[in-house]
């Protein structure tokens, strides 16, 4: 069973190659159905492998099994979290392909297969990164994931915004990838190994009696800078709202649903295997670094999410806020927090993809994603209104949803003060989404006047389909419905949470089995509280827009300038801050 792991990467690649080779000979329908079939096959394989990953699977590519503990080959690790992320990536790619069924205006002349091929390459990159047990191999799949994401984000080249957003996304992520590679070079110089667990052992052996030295700290800063750029932590997050505001909707679903989360998974994986030993970064430093960055990210994401009127940018900032919450959960370094974050991440992926799908429907039906321009125009889309509101409530953490279960378990693990931040961040983001739902679908409240000029309005966008959709094809409505049903299943599925917790603990803390995770009264109460707060915020915002729009957040909004130079400067500042946060442990020892 182990040697099927590389197939998770090889199958989508083969599908993409076949699509590009035969793309021009077959009609568009055949190309898209082949893509869906290959994506579904990979998802099925991922789920089958996930079902029997209780002893984590280890596969040496090329058959280079270790000889007395040493090997020259590349190791792929098929444990719970890895295969879980690969399965999630495959399922979301399948959902995106189903959503974009005969969706785009005509593809480039004679290249019917190019968009599905790029989406399959995207799936291959994500699966490869999720399974990588070798640090340089993770960098290669990280690079593939990024290159395909740049091309997909800039897919609508006739839109001025799309190409600018894709360019800033490409420059910032490439610089992050080069930082990651510099970190790998330093670790290779010190340990002479590339497999993550081997590097960890090498660091422990090489570390003197007084623990890590500056080289380990520099490698930690460089590797984590690359991963945190992908995970959109403050101050590396600037590329995400620009990229999500312009990417085609199916791409947004996959970008926000799983690619950004892979950054947080990468942070968890790299720290657990490489930097967790005595020779690595002391736990207190890692905890301080991630707690500070996570809290900042959650706060900035939530505040800026509240101010947006462009629907996709609003959802993008909500993703930034949730990434902050995930990093906080990972930073606490407790097995219960890891289980909670795994469930929360699964739930959030489904909810966020469903919300982006509904935003895409609005864009294609009315040619705009601007909250003010759409006020009251979407009354006849009953089904979409229900899906959108359910998604917003899921985002807020309403109990039956998987997000609420994950949030409650994590809140229990992170303790008091951080729980307040969890409740506030989810309430503000969900409140913004509920405000949009109330205005767009119900047309409530007075017409809001335009804010100052320093904002990106959602109007003036062209629908992604050739012409405005008279009738919404049911494939575009079925996908969000199925995703929300999945999130409900995560929440109420019997024993599902225990399976996830068992898999995560077995991989993370070496099988320290934790008490079964389940709904707790306190968790349910916190979930209801955050939902009530969200509904309240939305109600106040709709009825008296002046009240909840203070101007003190304006300087924060000016930082999101869309200027490549600014984002690169902030990346350097972020790396320096990360170094400063993790410095005490290295100096102290």
């Amino acid at each position: 069973m182990d040697d099927l792991l590389p197939l998770l990467v090889a199958l989508p690649l083969l599908g993409a190659a076949v699509l590009v080779a035969g793309g021009r000979l077959v009609p568009r329908l055949v190309a898209e159905s082949v893509a869906c079939a290959v994506s579904a096959g990979t998802a099925a394989l991922a789920l089958v492998l996930l079902l029997n990953c209780s002893p984590p699977m280890v596969e040496w590519a090329g058959g280079w099994v270790p000889v007395n503990g040493r090997s020259v080959g590349i190791v792929l690790v098929g444990d719970g979290p890895g295969l879980g992320m690969a399965a999630l990536a495959s399922l979301l790619t399948l959902a995106a392909l189903a959503y974009s069924w005969r969706y785009f205006d005509e593809p480039p002349r004679g290249h019917a297969g190019s968009f599905p091929a790029l989406v399959l390459l995207f799936q291959a990159g994500m699966c490869g990164f999720a399974l990588a047990g070798d640090l340089f191999n993770a960098f290669v799949w990280f690079e593939l994931m990024s290159v395909v994401a740049y091309a997909l984000t800039g897919h609508r080249v006739e839109e001025a915004r799309a190409v600018q957003g894709a360019l800033t996304f490409a420059v910032v992520n490439s610089l992050g990838a080069y930082c990651l590679l510099m970190g790998i070079a330093l670790l290779y110089a010190r340990t002479g190994e590339l497999a993550m667990t081997q590097i960890g052992r090498g660091l422990d052996r090489a570390a003197g009696p007084d623990g890590p030295d500056v080289l380990v700290l520099a490698a930690f800063v460089l590797v984590l800078t690359g991963l945190l750029v992908k995970a959109a932590a403050v101050p590396f997050h600037f590329w995400l709202p620009d990229a999500h505001a312009v990417a085609p909707t199916p791409v947004c679903m996959v970008l926000s649903g799983v690619m950004v989360e892979l950054g947080a998974y990468g942070v968890w994986r790299v720290y657990g295997t490489v930097f967790a030993g005595p020779g690595g970064i002391p736990a207190a430093d890692f905890e301080r670094a991630l707690t500070v960055l996570g809290a900042l990210t959650a706060a900035v994401g939530a505040i800026l999410c509240w101010y947006q009127r462009h629907l996709k940018r609003l959802l993008a900032y909500s993703t930034v806020a949730h990434m902050g919450l995930f990093l906080l959960g990972i930073g606490v370094l407790k097995p219960e927090a890891d289980d909670g974050i795994a469930l929360y991440l699964l739930g959030h992926a489904g909810v966020k993809a469903a919300l982006f799908a509904c935003a895409g429907i609005l864009l294609d039906r009315y040619g705009s994603v601007d909250e003010h321009a759409l006020r009251g125009r979407a009354r006849e889309l009953r089904g979409v209104a229900v899906l959108f509101t359910l998604g917003a409530l899921g985002l807020a953490g309403l109990p039956p949803f998987g997000t609420a279960l994950g949030k409650s378990i994590t809140e229990e693990a992170v303790g008091g003060p951080l729980t307040v931040l969890y409740v506030l961040a989810t309430a503000v983001t969900a409140g913004a989404v509920l405000r949009v739902a109330a205005r767009v679908f119900l047309g409530l409240g007075p017409p809001p006047e335009n804010g100052d000029a320093y904002e990106t309005t959602g109007s003036g966008e062209r629908p992604e389909t050739r012409h405005r959709l008279g009738r919404i094809p049911d494939s575009m409505k079925a996908v969000p419905a199925v995703l929300l049903a999945g999130v409900l299943a995560v929440g109420v599925g019997p024993g599902f949470a225990d399976v996830v917790a068992h898999a995560v603990n077995e991989a993370g803390s070496g099988g320290v089995l934790v008490a079964s995770v389940h709904w707790t009264p306190a968790g349910i109460l916190l979930g209801l509280a955050s939902t009530a707060l969200a509904v309240g915020l939305a109600a106040v915002a709709v009825t008296r827009p002046k009240l909840l729009a203070p101007a003190w957040a304006l300087p924060l909004r000016r930082l999101q300038s869309g200027h490549v130079g600014d984002y690169v400067a902030w990346l350097l500042v972020g790396a320096a801050v990360l170094g400063a946060l993790a410095l005490p442990g290295v100096l102290g020892s």
Partner: protein, 119 residues
């Protein structure tokens, strides 16, 4: 003098990386910025190959050298650097494709004049 040469290649790599980042952050022309990004990437080649060097060693190619007769340099970093060179070329090609489209749609390649995505 010998103390400096033990660490000179690493310092050169760090210098190239930081000067590339400086150029990228302060560039007034997107094509120039893409050039600076490829300079940043050149730093990773220099660091990788400097890590793999061995004094008095030859290239790890045994078509004309008797295996085992002479010490050889580390071939693994060369494979990593090769992969990195090709990845760099592809990222540069994609970025330049996007710059062409930015110039076409915005009429300018000066990042200060791009004003579409704000706030």
């Amino acid at each position: 003098m010998t103390a400096v040469t033990h660490v000179l290649p690493y310092l050169v790599a760090v210098w190239i990386f930081l000067i590339g980042c400086y150029g990228l952050a302060t560039s007034r022309n997107l094509i120039h910025a893409v050039g600076c990004l490829s300079v940043c990437q050149a730093a990773t080649y220099v660091l990788l190959l400097a890590v793999g060097y061995r004094d008095g060693a030859t290239a790890p190619v045994f078509s004309d050298v008797e295996p085992g007769s002479r010490p050889v340099v580390d071939p693994v970093v060369q494979a990593l650097a090769l992969t990195d060179v090709v990845v760099g070329a592809t990222v540069t090609a994609l970025l330049l494709a996007l710059v062409v489209q930015v110039a076409k749609r915005h009429g300018t390649v000066d990042p200060d004049e791009l004003s579409e995505l704000r706030g």
